[in-house]
C-alpha cells in the first residue's frame, strides 16, 4: 500500500508585474508517495521549476505562493518551509558549476550541512561526509579539494552527496543533468535513482526531456502554461497519452533509431503562450487540432485524476 509523503492542494504561485499579476503555477494539486520518483515534465515557462521552488520555500520576490496548501507527512508545511528545508527536503540544481561555493572545500560544505541538521560531533560529521562522497563514487580522500578541481559530472555527484547527506525524505531535482553530456547524464541519473531507491527517498524530478523522464520516473506529471495537463503512471502516460498536448509532445520527440529518417516529424503548431497572454478556456486550445467550442470558453477540470481535457470528459 502506498503512503502519501507530500501533497499539493490547489497551489498557486503569482508574480506581480507591470502588466498585471501572472500565475506561474495555477491551481496545481498532486501527491508524491513515499519512495517513488515523480517526474514533472514541461517546456520552458511551464511552471515546473517554480513548483519545486514553492515546495522548498525558495521563490524569489516578487513571486510568492498566493494560494493553496502544501502538506508533508500529514502536516501543513507551507507556512514554515524553513523547518523542513535541508533536513527533510533537499534540492539538486541544474548547473553543478555554480551550485557549489568556489571558495570552500567540498568537505567543508558537507560537514557544515551535516552539523546544521544532525546531532553529531565534528569528527563524526567528517566521517559521514567521507562516506557520502564514497557513495556517490568519489574518492573520500578528495574531501579537502575545492569544487574547481572536479569535472562537471563529478561536481554534480558532489551536489547529490550534499543533497542526501542529511538523509532527507524528499529530494527535488531540478533539471539535474541538463548541463551534462549524454554519457555522463546517464551515469548521474542512475546514481540518483539507485541511492534514493536504497534509502526509500522520494524524488521529484523536474525535466524537459521525455526520454530522461521515461527512464527514471515511476509517475509523470505533464505541465503546460502553469497548469497540470496530465498525470499518471509513467508506462500508462507514455503508452496511452490522454491529453492532446502529451500526445503531441510524444510525437514530436525524435527517437534514436534509423527508421525515422526522411519522415516528417509531427509538429505542434505555434508556441506555448506567454503567461500574460493566456487564452480563455483550456490554455492549449489554440494549438490543439481537436479543440471545440467548450475548450475555448471554459477551463477543463481534471478528469478521473488523469488529464485536464474536455475530450476525456466527453468520452466518459
Amino acid at each position: 500500500m502506498t503512503e502519501t509523503l507530500l501533497e499539493l492542494k490547489g497551489l498557486e504561485v503569482t508574480f506581480k508585474t507591470r502588466r498585471g499579476v501572472l500565475k506561474a503555477v495555477d491551481d496545481l494539486s498532486l501527491t508524491v508517495n513515499k519512495g517513488e520518483i515523480l517526474g514533472i515534465v514541461g517546456e520552458s515557462g511551464a511552471g515546473k521549476s517554480m513548483t519545486g521552488a514553492a515546495i522548498i520555500g525558495l521563490i524569489d520576490p516578487p513571486g510568492r505562493v498566493s494560494k493553496g496548501e502544501i502538506w508533508f507527512e500529514q502536516e501543513r508545511m507551507d507556512e514554515h518551509p524553513q523547518q523542513l528545508r535541508g533536513k527533510q527536503i533537499s534540492m539538486v540544481f541544474q548547473d553543478p558549476l555554480t551550485s557549489l561555493n568556489p571558495l570552500r572545500t567540498v568537505g567543508d560544505q558537507l560537514v557544515e550541512t551535516i552539523l546544521a541538521h544532525m546531532y553529531v560531533t565534528k569528527a563524526q560529521a567528517r566521517q559521514r561526509a567521507q562516506d557520502g562522497l564514497a557513495e556517490v563514487g568519489i574518492d573520500p580522500d578528495r574531501i579537502n579539494a575545492y569544487p574547481h578541481a572536479f569535472s562537471g559530472g563529478m561536481r554534480q555527484r558532489v551536489v547529490i552527496a550534499l543533497a542526501l547527506a542529511t538523509e532527507p525524505k524528499l529530494v527535488i531535482a531540478d533539471e539535474p543533468t541538463t548541463a551534462l553530456d549524454v554519457s555522463v547524464q546517464a551515469q548521474v541519473l542512475d546514481l540518483l535513482k539507485k541511492l534514493c531507491r536504497e534509502r526509500g527517498t522520494s524524488v521529484i524530478l523536474i525535466t524537459h526531456d521525455m526520454g530522461v523522464m521515461a527512464q527514471t520516473s515511476d509517475r509523470i506529471a505533464v505541465m503546460y502554461a502553469g497548469r497540470l495537463a496530465e498525470i499518471g503512471d509513467t508506462r500508462e502516460v507514455l503508452s496511452n497519452p490522454q491529453h492532446p498536448y502529451t500526445q503531441g509532445l510524444m510525437a514530436s520527440t525524435p527517437s534514436v533509431d534509423a527508421k525515422s529518417f526522411g519522415s516528417e516529424l509531427f509538429q505542434i503548431p505555434g508556441a506555448m503562450p506567454k503567461l500574460d497572454a493566456l487564452p480563455p478556456g483550456c490554455a492549449f486550445n489554440p494549438r490543439c487540432s481537436q479543440a471545440h467550442e467548450r475548450c475555448r470558453t471554459s477551463r477543463p477540470p481534471m478528469v478521473s485524476g488523469r488529464a485536464a481535457c474536455w475530450l476525456m470528459e466527453d468520452a466518459s
Binding site: D95, S99, Y146, H148
Partner: protein, 328 residues
C-alpha cells in the same frame, strides 16, 4: 602559485620604471631647470657650466639612468621655491600624511564593510534605506565641502576641536607623531573624518553591491536549500566571496586616500606631503612634483601588489592558476 607571484612582481617593477620615466620626463622637460636655478639673466658661461654639471648634455637614457640611481639614493634634487633638498622636505612631512591616512583608512574600511553588509542583508529595512540614501549625499558632497562644513560646526560654532594644523607633535627622532598628545589626537579627528567619509560611502556601496551579487548566485540558493541557518549562509558563504572583490577596490581606495589627503591637508593646513604637492603645482615647482609622483607611485604599486597577493590567499582557483583575475 610562485609563477603568479613572480609575474605580479615583474609587472610591479615594470610599472615602477614607467612611473620613474614619467617623473623623469616631467623633471627634465617641463619648465627649464637652468632658468629656474640661475635666473634668466645669467651669463652663457655659467649656463654652460651648470648644464654640464647637471649632465643635461648626456644622451637621454644615461640621464634617465642617473635619475633612477639618484632616486634610489633618495636624491630628488632641490626645490625651486624653497631651495631645500626635496628629500628633506618629504622626510619632514611624510609622517603627518601617513598618520592621517591610516586613521581615515581604518575608519573607512571598518565602517564601510559593516554598513555595506548590513544594508545588503536587510535590503528592505528602514535603517538600511536611510543609510543608503544618505550615502548618496555622501558621494555627491565634494570632500572639501565636508571639511569646510566640519570646521564651521565643530571648530567655529561649537569650538570643540581645532580648525587647522596637527596640534603638538612628539618628535621621536626619525618620526614625529601626533598620536601621543591630547591636542594631536584632537586635531586628527576632523581631518580624519573628512578624508574617510567619502571612502567609507564608496566602500559601503561597493560591499553592498557585491554582497547582493553574491546572494543571487546558485550556491547561495543551494546553501539555503540545504537548510543552513541564515547566519551561516550570510557570514559563512556570502561574506567571504563578497570580500574578494571588495579587498581589491578597498586597496585601491587606500591609494585614493593618499591622493585625497591633498585636499584635506589644504583645508586643514595639515603639514603633510599633500600640502607640499599642491603648493608645488601652484608655483610650478617641478622637482617637488616629480618626487611626489615617484613617491606616491611607489606607494600605489606596493598597495596593488599586496592586494593581489591577498587575493591569491583567498581564492583557491587562483592559487591553482586556473583563472585569471577578471579584467586584468
Amino acid at each position: 602559485m610562485l609563477l603568479i607571484i613572480l609575474r605580479r612582481l615583474g609587472q610591479s617593477i615594470f610599472v615602477l620604471f614607467l612611473v620613474a620615466f614619467i617623473s623623469f620626463m616631467i623633471f627634465r622637460y617641463v619648465g627649464n631647470p637652468v632658468d629656474n636655478l640661475l635666473g634668466q639673466e645669467a651669463t652663457t658661461e655659467r649656463r654652460e657650466a651648470l648644464i654640464e654639471s647637471l649632465g643635461l648634455n648626456d644622451p637621454l637614457h644615461v640621464q634617465y639612468f642617473d635619475f633612477v640611481v639618484r632616486a634610489l639614493q633618495f636624491d630628488f634634487g632641490v626645490s625651486y621655491r624653497t631651495g631645500m633638498p626635496v628629500a628633506e622636505m618629504i622626510v619632514q612631512r611624510l609622517p603627518a600624511t601617513i598618520e592621517l591616512a591610516l586613521v581615515s583608512a581604518v575608519f573607512a574600511i571598518l565602517l564601510g564593510v559593516v554598513a555595506g553588509v548590513y544594508t545588503a542583508i536587510n535590503r528592505r529595512g528602514f535603517i538600511a534605506n536611510a543609510i543608503l540614501s544618505s550615502s548618496l549625499i555622501g558621494v555627491s558632497l565634494p570632500t572639501f565641502l565636508i571639511g569646510v562644513l566640519l570646521i564651521w560646526i565643530f571648530a567655529v560654532e561649537l569650538k570643540w576641536l581645532p580648525s587647522f594644523g596637527r596640534g603638538t607633535a612628539v618628535d621621536l627622532g626619525f618620526w614625529s607623531t601626533g598620536f601621543l598628545t591630547i591636542s594631536g589626537l584632537k586635531s586628527l579627528i576632523l581631518p580624519g573624518i573628512m578624508l574617510g567619509l567619502y571612502q567609507m560611502t564608496l566602500i559601503m556601496r561597493l560591499t553592498r553591491a557585491e554582497m547582493l551579487e553574491v546572494l543571487r548566485q546558485d550556491y547561495i540558493k543551494f546553501a539555503k536549500a540545504r537548510g543552513l541557518p541564515d547566519r551561516t549562509v550570510y557570514f559563512g558563504h556570502a561574506l567571504k566571496n563578497t570580500l574578494v572583490p571588495v579587498i581589491t577596490i578597498a586597496g585601491l581606495q587606500l591609494g585614493s586616500i593618499v591622493a585625497f589627503a591633498i585636499i584635506t591637508e589644504t583645508v586643514f593646513q595639515w603639514p603633510g606631503v599633500g600640502l607640499m604637492f599642491i603648493n608645488a603645482v601652484y608655483f610650478v615647482d617641478i622637482p617637488v612634483m616629480s618626487a611626489y609622483l615617484l613617491l606616491v607611485g611607489t606607494l600605489f604599486v606596493l598597495i596593488n601588489l599586496i592586494v593581489d597577493l591577498l587575493y591569491l590567499l583567498i581564492d583557491p582557483r587562483l592559487r591553482d592558476g586556473q583563472l585569471r583575475r577578471a579584467g586584468s
